[in-house]
C-alpha cells in the first residue's frame, strides 16, 4: 500500500525555520486580536448609537464579517482593493482580512457582554460624577472584558488557525507559508505539513492553556 519512503529528518532539519515562522504566525494573530478588539469595542458601542449611520455601519460590518468566508475577506483585501489603487502586501492583506473577521465576531461577543452588565452600574457611576466616557471606560469596559474573556480567547485560537490562509495570497514568512515554501522546494508535502500541524496544535493549546491560567489569576475572587 505504501510505495513511499517518509523522510522525517528533512522536516526535523527545517524545524528552526518553521519555528521562526510560528513566531510570525503568533505576531500576526496577536496584532489582529489587538486591532480587532479595539474595532470591536467601537462596533459594539456603535450598535447602540443614537445615530442611524453608526448603527448601520456597525450592523453592516458584523453581518459581512460573519456571513462571508474569512478567505473571501482576505481576497477582498488583497485583490479587491487593487481597484482603488491600493496594493497590499500578503502580510498586510492577511492581517487586514483576519482583523476584519475578528472585529465582526468579537463585536457580537462584546454586545452580548454589554447587555449582561446591569444598567444600574452606569447610572451609579454617573451619579458619582463620572462623565459618560469615564464611566464607560472605568466601570463598563472592565466588566465587559471579564465576561468576554473566554470567548475572546477562542477567537484568538481561531485567529492563529486563520493565519494559515495566508499561503493562498502568497504569504511566505508565517508557519504555513514557510511550510509551503519548503514543500514547493522538496515535495515532501506530508512530512512538512504534519510538522506544521503539530506546531499549530502546540500553539493553539498553549494559548488556550495560558488564557485559562490568566483567567484563573485575574478572576478568582
Amino acid at each position: 500500500m505504501f510505495n513511499y519512503t517518509f523522510h522525517w529528518y528533512q522536516a526535523f532539519r527545517a524545524l528552526p525555520d518553521m519555528l521562526a515562522g510560528a513566531l510570525v504566525t503568533l505576531e500576526l494573530a496577536i496584532l489582529s486580536m489587538v486591532l480587532g478588539i479595539g474595532l470591536a469595542v467601537l462596533i459594539a458601542v456603535g450598535r447602540n448609537s443614537e445615530y442611524a449611520v453608526f448603527r448601520g455601519l456597525a450592523i453592516g460590518w458584523v453581518e459581512l464579517a460573519r456571513n462571508t468566508p474569512a478567505l473571501f475577506q482576505i481576497y477582498m483585501a488583497h485583490f479587491g482593493l487593487g481597484a482603488f489603487g491600493i496594493h497590499l502586501s500578503p502580510y498586510v492583506s492577511l492581517l487586514a482580512g483576519i482583523t476584519f473577521n475578528n472585529a465582526g465576531y468579537l463585536a457580537e461577543t462584546f454586545r452580548g457582554a454589554l447587555r449582561a452588565i446591569p444598567a444600574t452600574q452606569t447610572r451609579a457611576a454617573r451619579s458619582l460624577g463620572m462623565g459618560p466616557v469615564t464611566a464607560f471606560r472605568l466601570i463598563v469596559l472592565p466588566q465587559m472584558f471579564r465576561i468576554a474573556f473566554l470567548p475572546a480567547t477562542n477567537q484568538m485560537v481561531w485567529a492563529i488557525l486563520m493565519t494559515s490562509l495566508g499561503i493562498v495570497v502568497g504569504m511566505n514568512t508565517d508557519l504555513a507559508g514557510v511550510t509551503q515554501d519548503l514543500n514547493v522546494r522538496t515535495f515532501r508535502t506530508f512530512e512538512f505539513f504534519a510538522m506544521a500541524a503539530i506546531i499549530y496544535y502546540a500553539l493553539a493549546k498553549s494559548v488556550s492553556l495560558g488564557a485559562r491560567l490568566i483567567a484563573w489569576r485575574l478572576f478568582r475572587y
Binding site: 513511499y4 453581518e63 456571513n67 462571508t68 468566508p69 474569512a70 479587491g80 499561503i167 493549546k205
Partner: protein, 217 residues
C-alpha cells in the same frame, strides 16, 4: 466604471461553483452530524479517562488549521495510493472537521438535560433507550439546534478552503473569472453577495430560533 465584461454564462459558471460549495457542505454536514451525534453521545457515556483518546483526536481536528488538514489528507491519499478525487478528499476532511465540532454541540446539549429529569424518566419505568429518544434528545435538540445551524454555516464558509486542493468551488471560480476579465473588485463583490445570500437568511433563522426558545425557558 460601471461597465463590465461579465456575461450571463460567467454568472452560470459562478452558479456552478456555488453548486459545488453547496454539495461539499451538504455531504460534509450530513456525515459530520451523524458522526458527531455518535461521538458526542459516546463521550457522555464514558468517563474522562476512557474517552481520552477520542477527545484528543477530536481536539486535534479543532486545533489544526483546516487548510493544513486538507493538504495532509490530500498528500496522504496519494501516498497511500487511494486515488481519491479532490471532491472526496474535501468531503472526508470537512466531515471529520464537522464531526469534531458537532460532537461538542451534542455533548453540551445532552449535558444540559438536568439529571433529575432523566432520573424521573427512568423512575417511570422507561428504559435507557426510551429515556434517550423520548426525553434527552428532544430536550438536547432545543439547546443544540442554534449552534448546529451556526456550525453548518461555518462549514459552508470554511469549504472555500478546498480550492487549495484543486476543487473549483465558488471562490475558486471567481478567481478564474478574475484572471480572465481583470475585474477583481466587481467579481469579488458578486461572489461575496452570493455567499451572503446563502448564509444570512439561515443565520437570521438560527438567531430567531435561539431567541424564541430562550424566552420559553
Amino acid at each position: 466604471m460601471f461597465e463590465t465584461a461579465l456575461t450571463l454564462s460567467d454568472l452560470a459558471f459562478l452558479a456552478k461553483g456555488a453548486g459545488v460549495t453547496l454539495a461539499v457542505t451538504a455531504v460534509s454536514v450530513l456525515f459530520g452530524t451523524l458522526l458527531g451525534v455518535v461521538f458526542g453521545t459516546t463521550r457522555t457515556l464514558l468517563n474522562a479517562w476512557t474517552a481520552a483518546p477520542m477527545t484528543f483526536i477530536l481536539d486535534v481536528l479543532r486545533s489544526v488549521p483546516l487548510l493544513i488538514q486538507l493538504v495532509l489528507a490530500n498528500a496522504f491519499q496519494s501516498i497511500a495510493g487511494l486515488g481519491w478525487q479532490p471532491f472526496t478528499v474535501a468531503c472526508v476532511v470537512l466531515s471529520l472537521y464537522t464531526a469534531s465540532y458537532c460532537s461538542e454541540i451534542v455533548r453540551g446539549g445532552i449535558e444540559a438535560v438536568p439529571a433529575v429529569t432523566r432520573r424521573a424518566a427512568r423512575s417511570l419505568g422507561m428504559t435507557w433507550a426510551q429515556d434517550m429518544t423520548h426525553i434527552v434528545f428532544p430536550m438536547a435538540l432545543r439547546v443544540s439546534l442554534p449552534s448546529w445551524i451556526g456550525l453548518t454555516l461555518g462549514v459552508m464558509k470554511d469549504s472555500a478552503l478546498v480550492l487549495w486542493i484543486g476543487l473549483i468551488e465558488l471562490l475558486r471560480s471567481s478567481q478564474i473569472l478574475v484572471t480572465r476579465l481583470q475585474e477583481p473588485l466587481f467579481i469579488l463583490i458578486v461572489v461575496g453577495a452570493i455567499y451572503f445570500m446563502l448564509s444570512f437568511p439561515i443565520a437570521r433563522l438560527g438567531g430567531q430560533l435561539e431567541k424564541r426558545w430562550r424566552e420559553n425557558d
